[in-house]
Amino acid sequence: MNWAEMGLEIAYLLRGTQVTIELSLLAFAGGGVLGFTIALLRVLGGSDVTLVVKPLVDVVRGSPLLVQLLAVYLGSSVLGFSLNPLTAAFVGLSINAGAYLSEIIRGALTSVPKGQTEAGLAVGLSRMYVVWGIILPQAFPVIVPAAMGFFISLVKDTSLAYVLGLLELTRAAKDIVDRTLDPFHTYVIVMLIYFALCYPLSVLVRVVDRQLQHKGLARERL
């Protein structure tokens, strides 16, 4: 392979990388909105809502993402509104992320001592405001690092979208291997690209986590 060809391959991989980044961000946003909604519904709505929502969350968390992506993509065409690969990947990943993020958020909300809710209610605040203005800010330092950690695995999980034919990073690699018959170099480069995306994020998680803990400690009595 000469340099010109190599340049083309790299450009192809970077295009895939761009799709991977876009898909990750979109799915994280979608999953975040979904996860927040589910968590708030469960915390505010009590046992009735939980009875309906929890089984759905459990099914999503208890089955492979790859199968979910196929179900959304192929299922949509059976149901008569065929989604393009990007939309199907976005929907599938958002649902999956929503289920996990809802548990992260709900867990953080319920970890705030019950006395906080009672104190809020006792001054006459609405249950809605108590969750929004009192519980959520205290849950935030728990949610942020955990959600960021989840985002890192989401970036890696977007590689599964290659089965839908979506031209993201892994799919780009496969196309190149089909042409060059050089899986070793290609996939090592792809691994390094994923690593370059994820590693700075994991460093950031550590920094943020430490910052938040420090801020929390500053409020505690020293």
């Binding site: 001592p113 006395g115 906080q116 009672e118 104190a119 809020g120 209610l121 006792a122 001054v123 006459g124 605040l125 609405s126 249950r127 405001y129 203005g133 009192i134 800010p137 205290q138 500053a218 409020r219 505690e220 009595r221 020293l222």
Partner: protein, 256 residues
């Protein structure tokens, strides 16, 4: 005493079950405007639960509670109205840790009473002065002692201009040397004519400020009367047993 014959809190045959456990069994209590009632009793007697039924933190299983003419329960809006008329002080203070002392006090007046921030701030500063913590306005709860936190919590409750104040063992979680400052604020409040229902084990305090002492055990009121009678001449065996244990304990405490 500055009491009137009109009850501000009226609990009628209040029963509360937690699953199969009956925590309150048909408790009836009327508290008059300006009256100071201290509820004592062994742990698990239902006294804290009873207090929590008065502002609807625990829904009653049967019976009814009326505060200042408003039935406790029903829709969120009505509950919110009742709760803003009832101040509550908790054993563990329950200040909002992400807000300063000042913000803790301002929150209710701004969000529930609809006061402007300036007005709420003036009110909060006045209350902080009243509980002796003017210099702590901008401190977070984590940097205050337990006694200071509890005084901020009292100010937070007072900021709603409540018609009655509930105290749920307000000094039980405090180091002994911090109890006095909280009781002092409560004494002050009592002398200003605030209607108070206090669950406490501070007998000297109860003897001092209470118009009436209620003794609860196993979910029922076993005895009630003026503190002198209850403490010096209890009528029931259960009260005697409880007081003996309590005084024995605090006697030992002082000897240490």
């Amino acid at each position: 005493m500055a009491t009137s014959s009109e009850p501000i809190v009226s609990a009628e045959r209040v029963t509360k079950d937690f699953g199969s456990l009956r925590v309150l069994d048909s408790v009836t209590l009327r508290v008059l405007r300006g009256e100071r009632v201290v509820i004592i009793g062994p742990s698990g007697s239902g006294k804290s639960t009873f207090l929590r039924c008065i502002n609807g933190l625990e829904p009653v299983t049967s019976g009814r509670v009326v505060v200042d003419g408003l039935e406790v329960g029903g829709t969120g809006v009505q509950l919110s109205r009742v709760r803003s008329a009832v101040g509550m002080v908790f054993q563990l203070f329950n200040l909002f840790p992400h807000k300063t002392a000042l913000q803790n006090i301002m929150l209710g007046p701004v969000k529930v009473l609809g006061l402007s921030r300036d007005e709420a701030k003036r009110r909060a500063l006045r209350l902080l002065e009243r509980v002796g913590l003017s210099d702590k306005a901008d401190e977070y709860p984590g940097r205050l002692s337990g006694g200071q936190q509890q005084r901020v919590a009292i100010a937070r409750a007072l900021a709603m201009s409540p018609k009655v104040m509930l105290f749920d063992e307000p000094t039980s979680a405090l180091d002994p040397e911090l109890v006095g400052e909280v009781l002092e604020v409560m004494r002050q409040l009592a002398s200003e004519g605030m209607t108070m229902i206090v669950v406490s084990h501070e007998m000297a305090f109860a003897a001092d400020i209470a118009d009436r002492v209620i003794v609860m055990d196993k979910g029922v009121i076993v005895e009630e009367g003026p503190p002198q009678t209850i403490f010096t001449n209890p009528q029931t065996a259960r009260t005697r047993v409880f007081l003996t244990r309590l005084l024995g304990r605090s006697g030992k405490h002082e000897a240490e």
